[in-house]
Amino acid sequence: MTIAAELPERGSYFAPGWRLRDWLLTTDHKRIAWLYLSSLLTFFFIGGAAATLIRLELFTPAGDFMTDDTYNRMFTLHGVVMVWFFLIPSIPATLGNFLLPLMLGAKDLAFPRLNLASWYVFMLGAAIALWAMLAGGLDTGWTFYTPLSTMFTTDNTSIAAVGVFIIGFSTIMTGINFIVTTHKLRAPGQTWFRLPIFVWTLYATSLVMVLATPVLAATLLLIVADRVFGIGIFDPAQGGDPLLFQHLFWFYSHPAVYIMILPGMGVVSEILPCFSRRPLFGYKFVAYSSMGIALLGFMVWGHHMFVSGQSTYAGVVFSFLSFCIAVPSAIKVFNWTLTMRKGSVTFETSMIYSLGFLGLFVFGGLAGLFLAALAEDVHLTDTYFVIAHFHYIMVGGMVTAFLAGIHFWWPKMTGRMYSERWGRIAAVTSFLGFNLTFFPQFILGFNGMPRRYHTYPDEFQAWNVLSSAGAVVLALGYVMPLFYLGYSLFKGPKAPDNPWGATGLEWQTSSPPPKDNFAEPPVVTEGPYKYELPEIDRPVDHK
């Protein structure tokens, strides 16, 4: 992809120092990525602990493990933490922060101090919201529906809303940084269509971050104003409209799910070509479809409200648009699949995670078709079918892609190699555990088990037991990387500059990179994914 930059000095970005202030006052995007990574992992396990407790409770039909209120707070905690403290920042704030300047051939992001500020803002918001949830409990569900959240819940609702509001600023700051960096800091010769797909998806994600998050801010503002000042915008007794809340909330929250998944799609688009030794199939289609998904994502929010009392005709329009958005997603899936054709495929850990992503994303996406079909959604909405659908996409898709990315770029980020054997074991374990946990939930939903239920009729128990058993395996699969990746930091073999033989500017510098990323500014002269088949698999007549 580029002419390799000379590498006269090989100091790494870790060299400048390991004091606390070298981390907490850094403006180096690579260190900030680590700041985010450590906090995000902590939050992931907090959210995961809540999920474990939920699955424990659901092992039996009766509500015997915790009280009603505790259970409600538990699933609210799980949702808020996973959505806002983990999924929304996940890939952008960690891998995106680390890799975007490298992939563009730049020294850092456009606004390094803004980047650090975004982490502090994130931590502040998370601390406030977490405190609110743990100290008195928030039991509105992560969706804060009114009038429940404005009139019928505890005081901590306002504080939690403020915490999430603050996190929203962090998202917007990251989005602005990425947009400006992508426009202004590309290396010479790096036109838009020479960019890796990961950059395209980060860019599309950033656009959504910047345009959708303010609407969440407005919505939370209105909730707090309702609770503190008594304005009645969502209160029917004062002439307000509870459905207005839903429209405003979902106008943000649907694009939010694209903030979550698009970067994962980008990661997989980097890994599949590398371990197939073939260019990504249909590069331009994949790039355009990423932008298309971001755009269409703003137009489908009403599909969360088919049975809410919104007009039938609005439902028809939103259903149509929701089916439209299936098209660019399908395009990507076909392109990823065909990338492997006539390639030379190997099964490193990150490749296994990526293949898992492909399968799970496809099934989750197909489940989405059921929900987009109006008459079907009437039966399936607000049941475990929806829960299964979004967990297939968010966990089966997004978390898997996140792990794929961490494993792919780990040598670059740390300069160490990890145990491939344990990596593959963890990948397969989490894949199996995931399916065992969430596939039964499709069946539960079709049979009518509603969401957010603390107790349930006996005939649902068998599937719940399977799901809870799966959760144990899944948890195991997720905990394993902590060990072998952590181990690799101390005892892992040193990583070469480009252990996977991947294309991309980030592989043209040392592992780990020096503080300013490149010894000499790189120049780009050809497009991305210029892979060649290895000697052993090259067709005989190929010269």
Partner: protein, 313 residues
């Protein structure tokens, strides 16, 4: 656990249609999913490093292929959309001979009232083979009435009235769930729908504790809330008469004409300035916040009855 939920019972006219769509989607999903899985695994295995597969002629783009699969996906999506939408639109058109029931959700119970005034809590008795319309609302937060066996669900929203209808096709007792999280005892806000043979239902309906019909209760409210003070025969205030109003066109002050349906009656009580009748001043006070959904339903039932029988208030 002596029973395992495998397939929900089909107990309404809608259920088999929804299930047909479900199975079509399932077939399509498994078909496409398995096709893709086979492709992915197939390519992964066939083209694994060191395998003797033929790798000549590899390309990394194929516009015709891209357009073809995009078009195919789009067409399938369109087909499913049309099917789902068509079935969905039936929601707005309950058959004319439907039984009317009013349903109120409140934390954390369901209250149903039949036309003759019989009330049920967390249970709903309906006759087999006759369409039933349930008008839903909520006293507090958003709830949702969900009967899996009927494949029917609709939110009960405070401040507005929504509607669901179904026609039961099997006698029996079916689960009723609240499907919109509504606070502490959301999971306990459950009940049953009991479908009975028509004769049994009629007997059941008549045998309940003697309660005044909704219309009679509404009449009492009409007096108690002061409505008759302006709308009654001996009122001195110039207010529209309500006999014969329901179901007929009404001329508004803005020169438009609207049909006096349920929504109109409801709005006239809660937001009287919204559609003022032509020739009258907008002086009626609003009852927003002063009347529960329960009572509102009875009042509307009463005023509807005036429309037909021409009774005196």
């Amino acid at each position: 656990m002596d029973s395992i939920a495998l397939h929900p019972i089909e107990a309404s006219t809608l259920a088999p249609q929804v299930d047909l769509l479900f199975y079509a989607l399932l077939a399509f999903s498994f078909g496409l999913g398995i096709f893709l899985t086979v492709l992915v695994l197939g390519y992964a295995i066939k083209y694994r490093r060191g395998s003797k597969a033929d790798r000549s002629g590899e390309r990394s783009r194929n516009t015709i292929l891209e357009v073809s699969w995009t078009t195919a996906t789009a067409l399938m999506a369109l087909g499913i959309f049309l099917w789902g939408a068509e079935l969905f639109l039936q929601r707005d058109h309950p058959p004319p001979d439907s039984l009317h029931i009013s349903g109120i959700g409140k934390q954390w119970m369901w209250i149903f009232e039949h036309e003759n005034g019989r009330r049920e809590i967390d249970e709903l008795h309906v006759p087999l083979g006759q369409p039933v319309v349930v008008s839903l609302s909520s006293e507090d937060v958003i709830h949702s009435m969900f009967v899996p066996a009927f494949r029917m669900k609709m939110d009960a929203v405070p401040g507005r009235q929504t509607q669901l209808w179904f026609q039961a096709t099997r006698a029996g007792t079916y689960d009723l769930f609240c499907a919109e999280y509504c606070g502490t005892q959301h999971s306990e806000m459950r009940g049953h729908v009991v479908v009975m043979e028509p004769q049994d239902f009629a007997k059941w309906l008549a045998s309940g504790p003697t309660v005044e019909s909704l219309v009679q209760q509404g009449q009492a409210l009409f007096r108690g809330l002061g409505c008759s003070g302006c709308h009654g025969p001996s009122a001195t205030v110039h207010a529209p008469k309500l006999e014969g109003v329901y179901g007929h066109p009404v001329g508004l002050a803005t020169s438009q004409t609207v049909n006096a349906d349920d929504g109109y009656i409801r709005d006239s009580i809660l937001q009287p300035k919204k559609q003022v009748v032509g020739g009258f001043d907008p002086i009626m006070p609003s009852y927003q916040g002063l009347i529960t959904e329960d009572d509102l339903g009875k009042l509307v039932a009463y005023i509807k009855s005036l429309g037909n029988s021409g009774g005196t208030p």
